[in-house]
Amino acid sequence: MNAAITLSDVTAGYGHNVVFSGLSLEIPTGRFAGIVGPTGCGKTTLLRTILGVQPIFSGDVRLNGWPVANVPLGTIGYVPQLGSVDWNFPVTVEEVIMMGFYASKRIWPWASREERERTHELAHRLGIYDCLRQPIMNISGGQRQRAFLARALINNPQLLVLDEPTSGVDIKTQHEVLHLLDDINSDGITILLSTHDLNAIASHLPWVICFNKGMVAQGQPHDIFTNDILTRTYGGDMVVIRHEGHFLIANNTLLHLTGNHHGISG
């Protein structure tokens, strides 16, 4: 069986600037993984490379065994960072979800009965049926995230990619999104997301990839979140506080500044 994502010796960047080079990475089908790393570490470039919209200098990117440029329609579901969306754009939640169908060969502007039924079914599942006719500017952050998730799921993708899905939303919504993604992953969909939030998000993920201009380490959070790996990933002196199976990750310098460094163990 092919891996969901396979990167072989990939070098990518912008213009003459290389962001990462010689990267090889394999994410098996059905995995729920998160890429963590500091701002500017190349997380977005890596996601864009996997999605096939980042020109690469060398190497090979395959999704489910297909070269990324020839992946069949509907294989990938994508949720953009909420901050990159124009919320004043005049579209309703229903119109946003239906955009997921817009790469199909149907030429009529209006939705078919099947498309409408599928949209309503997903909206029911994600709890946004009541706001289908609402403009996107009038709904909450959590509802917006669910609307974009519905658009990503509309074609029953095999791979779901989310760029910082929890940035700009409150803690309650962050947990709701994580539960929802967990539920979607249990249907067999491979999920890859990027996040810079180690405590609220990354520590709850089943698999974490530490990234900083290249792969630092990957594995389950309790193996990966060590002082050494996080310090190498973030470039600062990071400490991991463990208590009854839970983590708290902090920057040691900041802890010293606030005087809270006593009794910390790695």
Binding site: L73, E95, N138
Partner: protein, 285 residues
């Protein structure tokens, strides 16, 4: 009702009215995407490039539309090429390319003074001098644009909303962008003799902005923009006849008036909704 029928006795008015109806609806339709894609300045720039092309074409004994069309398309292609890798922003590319082409036209006119009268219509519009050939071209461009936008409705909407996501979902965004630039250039060239280079930008964006004040749905906004554009063209023509004012300018002014009215209606609606919400909260207490 006589004031509606009386001007129709004149052929120049019938031609002008038909041209205003078609150009109004055409600009309303294409202008919707111009506004939402943040390309208002492109419309303004392309009309200037097309003007330069018309002058060059005239010097080379080419048809007005051929010269304007070639230079307009060349400008659209150059702007796309220059901005492709993101190093130069869209507004800067438009500033360089289209102003240089416009300057070329102005330079030629300044050398051959007899040209100046021929291009007054292109600069300021001459809706009452519309010929059968003009009507045919405007009609063809309008029909072609309506069919293309209906055909491309879905990919155009998605790429206008989020171009990168559209690409990831499998839409060939380069083709969509190129087709849209082509349609925009054709629309500007077809509208040039009617409203003039100086007023095309307003004709393109005003119906769409007015429609935006009235709805938050993309589909409805597109229909409203089309109807408002057509209505503005026809009403503006009658007003110009009644008040004996320049047609292009009257159409633009009437469009601006409609926008103010729509903005006022929107403001009133927001105030009413806020007041109702306040009252509901007070009743709950």
């Amino acid at each position: 009702m006589e004031f509606l029928v009386e001007p129709l006795e004149y052929e120049f008015f019938r031609h002008g009215l038909l041209a205003a109806l078609m150009v109004g609806s055409l600009c309303g339709l294409i202008g919707m995407y111009v506004v939402l894609r943040g390309m208002s300045y492109v419309g303004h720039g392309l009309s200037h490039a097309a003007f330069g092309g018309a002058v060059v074409g005239f010097m080379l004994n080419l048809d007005f539309y051929a010269g304007a069309g070639m230079m307009g398309l060349l400008a659209a292609l150059l702007i796309n090429r220059i901005t492709r890798n993101g190093e130069i922003k869209l507004d800067a590319a438009i500033g360089i390319v289209t102003t240089a082409m416009f300057a070329l036209g102005v330079a030629i006119i300044s050398q051959v003074r007899t040209y100046s009268q021929n291009f007054e219509a292109a600069l300021f519009g001459n809706i009452l001098g519309i010929t059968n050939e003009d009507l045919l071209i405007i009609g063809l461009v309008t029909a072609c644009t309506i069919i293309s936008i209906l055909y491309l409705y879905r990919p155009l909407l998605f790429s206008t909303f989020d171009n990168e996501a559209a690409r990831i979902f499998g839409i060939r965004t380069e083709i969509v962008q190129f087709t849209f630039s082509f349609l925009l250039t054709l629309s500007i060239i077809a509208s040039m003799n009617v409203v003039g280079v100086t007023m095309i930008a307003a004709t393109l964006i005003t119906p769409a902005l007015t429609a935006r004040m009235l709805t938050d749905s993309f589909g409805r906004m597109l229909v409203y923009s089309f109807i408002i554009g057509a209505g503005t063209g026809v009403t503006g023509m009658y007003l110009s006849y009644i008040f004996n004012a320049a047609s292009g300018a009257t159409i633009v002014l009437f469009g601006a008036l409609l926008f103010c009215l729509a903005a006022f209606i929107k403001r009133c609606r927001v105030l009413f909704v806020n007041q109702s919400a306040r009252q509901q909260r007070q009743e709950l207490r």
